[in-house]
Structures are given as C-alpha cells and as structure tokens.
Symmetry: C2
C-alpha cells in the first residue's frame, strides 16, 4: 500500500482512528515507531502497561501488522519495550534486575553482580550551580535536589556518590525521610514521577580520594578511586539526573562489554 498526499488511504471496514501524516514520506514503520514513542513520551502508555496488539495498532494506523511489528521490533532492541509471544507487548520497567544488569556496572573480581545497599548522608534543596545547570540543561536560577550517600558492597563501604536532579521535576522528593529513599532510585523516578531512564552517558576517570572520601571508605587519603560521572537521560533524550560516584576498585571492577 502506498501513501500519498493526493490519495488518502482507502476506506475499509473499520476506519483508522489515528492516521499517520499524509505529507510524511519516510517509511511507514518509522512513522509508526515515532507515533509509539510519542505515546510513551505523552504518558498515554506508562511503564508496565500492555500495548494494544499488533493487529489493533495496525488497524489504528492504517498499516499492516508486519509494519507495526518492524517498528515494535526496533523499540524492543532499544530496551524500550518488552515482548512475549502469546502474552503481548509491554512498556519496559525499571526492575531491580534491570537496574543491576543494565545500569550498574560494578562487579566482583569473579564477575558476580550484586546491588549495593546505600546509606544517605544528606538531602538538600538549593539553587543549581553553573555546572549543574549546564549538565541538566536547566534555566538559570533553577533549584535542584542533591543527595549524598555512601554505598556498601559485600558489607564494606565501596562507593561515595552525589546525585543531582531538578527540584521542579521531583516535587516532594527532598521531603522524603532519608531512610525511605530506595537504593534503586530509577524505580522511584519512574513510579512516582513518570520519568523513565532509558539511556545513560558515563565518563570514567581515575582520581585521588579526598580526605573525606578516604575516611568514608576506610582508605588512605590520596588512594586511587574510579570516578563515574553519569548523566541519565529520558526517552525524550533530556537529561534527568546527574550523578558522580567515586568507587573503590580493589574488590570490584567496572565491566564494559563492547560489541
């Protein structure tokens, strides 16, 4: 079936509810993909939701099931959707498992993975610094929430980190009791604030521990630490969280698979 501006799609038994643009000559599956992303951004479909079936979507957009399938396949490859034969297609969620295997890269020497526990040192709300404004793409004068915490791995303190998010996007977060903050924050962002992290850019450096960091981690001042500077992005590719972790890497290593 060919779309064109001059010939609108032929009428069938049931008319498409939400037709695609008539002046868009990109491949149909691309248009469907964008439409689906739009639904996700708009919040019509939230994490964990079940999408309409391929056939239903095909009818809605006036394309065939195979075309919808190609669009959904690509989103599945990007970890935005999850599909199970016979069950349906679902919006991916931030389970602890996903947080552990996809977004947390510090593993034991033997490659074993475990989520660290965390102890919050402080939570504060204040005006953003220049650097915070730049990283989170905030307007000048915006307010941010900063969380400082220490994380244990295998029972010993291993990570000192701070986390910065825009206060506007996370109302009430700063008023939560320190001990109620979960140690997998991405789930919280998703469930309470509708912000899903789908991508992250991490920059790693080796640094020397400050006196305070050394004390918190039980090391000598100046000991080498692995610094992970992470910017977490939403599906709209907007920065949501800036986090800098400084990690002790005698017991653990950062694992990166390239292929």
């Amino acid at each position: 079936m060919v779309r064109s501006a001059s010939e609108p799609p032929v009428k069938r038994g049931d008319e498409p509810q939400a037709v695609l643009s008539d002046v868009d000559f990109r491949p149909l599956y691309q248009q469907v993909k964008d439409a689906v992303i739009g639904k996700l951004i708009g919040g019509d479909w939230r994490p964990g939701d079940k999408l309409p079936s391929e056939f239903r979507l095909a009818a809605e957009y006036g394309v065939s099931q195979g075309t919808v399938r190609k669009a959904l396949d690509e989103l599945t490859a990007q970890n935005v959707l999850i599909r199970r034969q016979g069950r349906g297609t679902f919006v991916a969620t931030h389970t602890p498992h996903r947080a552990l295997f996809h977004f947390f890269h510090l593993v034991g020497q033997d490659g074993s993975r475990q989520l660290p526990s965390s102890r919050v040192l402080s939570v504060e709300t204040r005006r953003a610094t220049r650097e915070e404004e730049a990283r989170l793409e905030l307007r000048a004068g915006s307010r941010v929430i900063r969380i400082d915490r220490v994380r244990d791995m295998a029972g010993r303190p291993a990570i000192v980190e701070f986390i910065v998010v825009a206060a506007k996007s996370f109302p009430g977060l700063a008023r939560m009791p320190k001990d109620d903050l979960p140690n997998t924050l991405y789930e919280l962002y998703e469930e309470r604030y509708g912000m899903t992290i789908v991508r992250a850019v991490e920059k790693l450096r080796a640094v020397a521990a400050t006196a305070r960091e050394a004390e918190l981690l039980g090391l000598a001042a100046g000991a080498p630490l692995l610094e992970i500077d992470r910017l977490a992005l939403s599906i709209e590719d907007k920065p949501v969280e800036w986090r800098v972790s400084r990690c002790e890497t005698r017991q653990h290593t950062y694992l990166s698979i390239v292929d």
Copy 2:
C-alpha cells in the same frame, strides 16, 4: 514452507546448493544465520568481501529472500556485516574509523575523539605465564608475544600498555621491526592473520602509578591511573588478545554509553 525430516524440500527450477539440515527444527532464519557465521569462521568470506545477494543466498539455502534478510539483519546489528542499499552486503572490516569509534573509548574532556600515536618499547616472545594461559585459553607451555608500548594523545604520553597474543596464531609478528607495528593492531590481525576482533570485554579499575609508569607518563609516582583490562574476542568468541592499558585521565575520560 514447512521443513520436515519426512518431506524434503520440493524440487524447483534450480536446486539449493547447500541445503540446511533436515533434522534442525530451529527457525530457518536462525539456521541461515549460523550458516553465514560458519562461512565467516571458515574464511570463505573474509573482511571486506561482498556476500552473494539476498536472492542468491535464498536460492542456495532453499528459503525465501525475506528469511535471508532477517538473518543478515541480525548480523548487521551485531556489526559483523555492513549493508548498503543498491550495492550489496559486505563483511565488516576494521577501519581506523571503526577502531576509533567502536573500540577506543578514551575521549577528550569535550568529547572529541582522536587515535593515539604509539611508541613500542619492546617486543618479546616467551612462554606464557599462568595468567596469560588462563586469559587466552592456551594450553600449558604455549608461547606468547608481548608488546609493551606508550601511547601519546594530544602530543603528550597518556597510556602505558602491554599486549599479549598467542605466538602460534601470529607467526612472524614478533620479528616485525618495532617501528613497523601499526598503532591500530586490529587491522593488522585481520589483514595479515585473518583474525577479526568483533567483541571485547573490558574491566576498569583505578590504580596507583608505579615508579616506571609515572616516569613514562611524566607524573608523580602513585598518581591515580585508569586501568583498562581488555580481552578481545573473535567471531568464534575465542580470546585473541589480552591487553592492559594504564591511562592518565586528567586530560581524557573513558566514555561509556549505556542504552
């Protein structure tokens, strides 16, 4: 078309040259994919080669073009093949560009990428240590080639690294003049020895510079360095090269994109 052990494929105008197994009930596109990988491993198709067209492959294996396409699509997603509409499908090669953007992760503070130059300190052939045997999955007593070198970025020494490969797999490599070793070794592995690196596992830690490393890099002894421990794997998923790089990260950072 349904395959079964009892009913062999129907004869057509031109008979399939290399039929798929009759007792394999996995999806056809999977079988085609494995067949293609087999050709790559066997060296029938080498890096840069052009594959037969989708239709030709379909005829060979007795399946339809769309089925071949699905197999090739997956291999393209894995960066094993490269496809260009109207031109054909090609076996991916290790261009300097690919080495830079895919396998080299040290970037400038502003995100700019550049390949480092390299100065070889020494090349030696000797028996493998226990650790080298384990990493490269060698038999006890195997010989290895070890290359030590320093790499400059932006005109200043930034990386000290050693590289270990099995001597048996790279005959003559150790006898090359030190200054003739290219600084992108993966191209050399591919062109001269038919070993294509398609995957790598990197483990990162923060370490303190040894006296020798500090001298080579122009730093104070004990300065923090980023250690990258990389195992490079062939398409058969066999380890080909073990490399440990220690990097100065005041001017550069290791970039990792998670999605």
